[in-house]
Amino acid sequence: MKDRTPRRRKAPPSVSLLLVAFLLVPATVDAQTRRSSKTRLSRDEQIEAALRKRTQKIQDQYCRDLVRVANWAALQGLKKDAAALVKKISGINPQYPKLEDIREKVEEAEEESDTAKNEKNGKSLLTRLKSADKKQGVELVKLATGCMKVGLFTRAFDMINYVLEISPDDSKARKILGYKKDTKTKTWISAWEYSHRKKNFLTKEGWFEKKKKKDFDKGLRPYKGKWLSAEREKSIRTRNEYAPYTVKSEHFEVQTNMGRERAWEFALKLEDFYTQFFRVFIGYYDQIAGARLLFNRPETKKMHLVILFPSRNDYLTHVKQEKGNDKLLRESAGFYSGSDRKSRFYWSDNEEETYRTFYHEVAHQLFAETKSTRSGGSRGNNWVVEGIAVYIETWKKIKGNWVPGYEIDSSRMKIAQRFLAANGDWSLQGFAHIDNDQFHKVNRGLNYCLAGALCHFFMHYNDEVYKEDFVRFLSAYYMGKISNDSLAEYIKIEGGGGFNALEKQFKEYMATLGEKKPEPEAEADPEDLDE
């Protein structure tokens, strides 16, 4: 045993920082190469083959059922509906053997002119389709259960979500995802909401106790156990940072002076992000913990605390008042502090920028608070902490679906791209050796950009070939197991080559980044399994 200075000095309470946007050079918008956000399956080929075979079987069965329904529709004179079904079958499997037969039949079919008959048949058609969807749903749930057994949690999660898309009332799928049916409204809700609804009611401002509904309807609002007029409450809650509006959702507590409605909006956004976060980073956890986070959604023991300041000035006052006017924090757009488990940031006129910061800081928070970590034990590769948060800034929600890595034309990615193009001698190994202090003090803005770009590379390169390894690496970093040269040990590159080969690939990746814009994927379509 050796004595040494306290560990806390080496690893003070973690404060993760985000640079303000104006430190960065504005960039032009380019396109990018398509990077599939499709999760990779296990590399165990046997499992993969079995899964493919089973998926094919379910798919064929579904096509068979659809052909039957299309045939029936054609006979009943529902020509348009039948044609739509043929198109759907063709979309699922263009090589399906009976596709041409049914197409001919539909083309030859005559349209029914009796409206009453059409209406009746239309209803019947819907029932038949539902039945086919349900049948497929049952099969997919079974397959998803099998996937879980072999540890393919993300795949299982996607399948279950797909089942709910085609068959929203599938009780098995709902239960697997932790939903409960509210018998009064006959809607499926989360287990948390189910228990919460018993004593509370939901408003645009979040949840309130049922027994106080009269007060609420009168326009009164709660403050420290008393119900005050909304105006009086506003005067107190906007006075300073110590008595803000507070709302609680399933996993987050949001505090802000900007109003309770606004706080609730933020809480809902965070909940939406929460699910996607675990879907992408499930490998960060051990299998059981990951599965629990994705499926059972255990009740959160402690909320993740998020503070949103109304303006940069308010944020700076906070830094001055509570954080010793720390220079790094003053230059930041937000920060997460592990010592008090809170992430903080401010609202700016640039809404997109605000949300980027929002997800950046909350990503730090979720990595730190959803797993017992010992990141202080890692040496080197400190870029990964900010890198992964900058990478998350590239996620975008399009048509209701998250597309990880979409925003590659963000200023940070462009800066990294331009820097790498102009500095051919940049070394990945050297970058991995930079310590945390140096990362933040020397070329901080550029370091953030390069770290974010590196994470983008590891998460999306070559159809996500490194994603699983990289998430394991990330997990190991937070568990304090990483040293300066660990990156090349964790990321297995075909044909070997270590740092140099990774560096070469990264530079090539960045050089071609922006050639084609990615498209949002149909979320978790099981047909995607048929690779």
Partner: protein
């Protein structure tokens, strides 16, 4: 002497007060239950306690009274929680009670807390009470008020601070006054109150003046006048490192190098040495991060470097040459005393004297301190202290800290925010009275990240004595666990110097007994160090 009296049986008293609380919490989103408070009172986890106090409801009579009790009896971080809870008060009745407590409560800890809570509210109606509190009879209350007024830029606050400055006689409060005025105005008028008065009389009547506006020229002038810390960089070829320091003060006395404890910032010393700055130039050293040294000897699988004492000594010698000073006195704290000791041995002619604050004689004493933390922490069920002790050792093969291995072997999960709890505990242990609000004021600026190091083999008593006799003053606090009185006396004896034990201090005698410290050190330097004759002549 500005310490508080130590509390006794505080937990018992607080638990008794708990019976007065209602058992349930009314309201939906705020407040905590009696059970939660009871649980918090018994937990060794300072974060849980703090967060519980923060959520208490000052609008509830019994909780208000409980908050006051915690504020009066518990350590600084707990008090911080109560202040944040009080800052949420809204009814006239509670606010009146708070103002009354600020004005009349006998316990200065309560008056301090109320001042901070009211300042945090940032409500115009409370400022007049805060300005009145600038005249509180107790300097520790005054410095808290002065510190709190620095946040929101208000001309009335500047006015009140400038007025107070004219009559203030406590040196530490004066330093805080200057600091707060600098933050509010960026005018850097220096330590003399009259300069501030004449400037402010002109500025406040100038329609073009905007509070807080300044320019680089003004900053430079302030640096030249010694009103602002002057930055210096010394590229040391001998030490193989670049040394950063800042300077302040002037006079005929020997210049002093100030070396804070390892991993701590000079900011924890800056407010307390104004007495010395009147006669001496003080060079506050920012020790370079370990990574800036080349080819350090390392240990364990994680390549933890040994603390580079000799390189630092050489860097200091280069600093002396750069400043063209004949000699320095060195004030070093804790383990960093080893740098001063080695410097005195290697360059005795460059050292006018040593001022060792809570020093350690070597690795053995460091290990004994570690044992104390572990033993006392475990014995008193002070888990944060126990864990802190465990972080001070590591496995030389694997590099794993004893805390990590202890938790692994005993299957103990890390707490949420555990690192922060240990950090706060280690900081509290620097103080004799852990309630003192100054601990809270300095906490956000205390750290100076240097990187993890292994303690090198150092034993003063086995070192060869310096070729010349070096006048040495050792000052240590009676309640310090980081070092021991016996060891301090041994060090003083080794140098044939003096050892003073301060009864109301731990490792921060310059803060906790600032007046005495400044007086003792100034007296010692006057007596034992030569004064530049030509300089004194010029002065005359």
């Amino acid at each position: 002497m500005t310490s508080f009296n130590m509390q006794t049986l505080s937990l018992t008293a607080l638990c008794a007060a708990l019976f007065l609380l209602p058992s349930t919490v009314s309201g939906q989103e705020e407040g905590v239950s009696k059970a939660t408070i009871s649980k918090a009172l018994r937990t060794p986890n300072s974060l849980i306690r703090h967060d519980t106090w923060t959520k208490m409801n000052p609008e509830d009579k019994s909780q208000f009274s409980m908050l006051l009790k915690i504020m009066a009896k518990q350590p600084w971080f707990d008090r911080d929680g109560t202040i944040k809870a009080l800052a949420t008060a809204a009814s006239d009745e509670v606010l009146e009670k708070m103002i009354k407590a600020l004005q009349k409560n006998k316990d200065r800890a309560v008056r301090q807390g109320m001042a901070v809570a009211l300042a945090k509210m940032d409500d115009p109606i409370f400022y007049k009470h805060l300005y009145e509190a600038l005249d509180d009879k107790d300097p520790t209350v005054r410095r808290v008020v002065v510190h709190s007024l620095r946040v929101h830029k208000k001309p009335e606050a500047v006015d009140a601070l400038v007025q107070r400055f004219q009559k203030e006689d406590d040196p530490v409060v004066k330093t805080f006054l200057e600091k707060s005025l600098n933050e509010l105005t960026q005018a850097y008028r220096g330590p003399k109150p009259e300069y501030w008065l004449s400037w402010w009389e002109t500025a406040k009547n100038d329609p073009d003046y905007k509070l807080g506006e300044t320019d680089e020229e003004a900053k430079k002038a302030a640096e030249d006048l010694g009103h602002k810390l002057k930055q210096r960089r010394t590229v040391s070829i001998l030490g193989g490192v670049t040394l950063e320091s800042s300077e302040r003060g002037s006079g005929i006395g020997v210049p002093i190098l100030i070396i804070p404890p390892y991993g701590y910032s000079e900011n924890i010393m800056l407010p307390f040495l104004s007495g010395l700055e009147q006669r001496h130039k003080l060079h506050y050293i920012k020790l370079p991060p370990v990574r800036s040294f080349k080819k350090l000897r390392t240990v364990s699988a994680k390549n933890i470097p040994y603390y580079p004492i000799d390189q630092l000594v050489d860097a200091f010698e280069d600093l002396r040459k750069q400043t063209k000073e004949e000699r320095f006195a060195i004030m070093a704290c804790g383990m960093n005393s080893w740098i001063a000791m080695r410097y005195a041995k290697k360059y005795p002619r460059s050292v006018a004297g040593m001022l060792l604050v809570a020093p350690l004689s070597g690795v053995k004493e460091y290990a004994r301190a570690t044992d104390r933390f572990e033993k006392q922490g475990k014995g008193k069920k002070d888990t944060e202290m126990h864990y802190f002790g465990l972080t001070r050792r590591f496995n030389s093969q694997t590099g794993e800290s004893n805390l990590d291995s202890y938790q692994r072997e005993n299957e103990i999960a890390k707490w949420e925010g555990e690192g922060g709890c240990i950090d706060r505990r280690s900081w509290s242990l620097f103080f004799h009275d852990e309630r003192d609000y100054v601990i809270s004021m300095l906490y956000p600026v205390k750290n100076h990240v240097m990187g993890s190091v292994a303690i090198p083999d150092f034993d003063l008593f086995k070192e060869k004595k310096p070729a010349l006799r070096i006048p040495t003053l050792v000052i240590t606090g009676k309640s310090s666990l980081y070092n021991s009185i016996e060891d301090s006396k041994g060090i003083a004896k080794y140098y044939r110097g003096l050892c003073l034990v301060y009864g109301y201090s731990s490792c921060m005698p310059f803060c906790e007994e600032s007046k005495r410290f400044n007086k003792d050190v100034a007296g010692f330097l006057r007596k034992f160090t030569r004064v530049k004759k030509d300089a004194s002549k010029k002065k005359d």
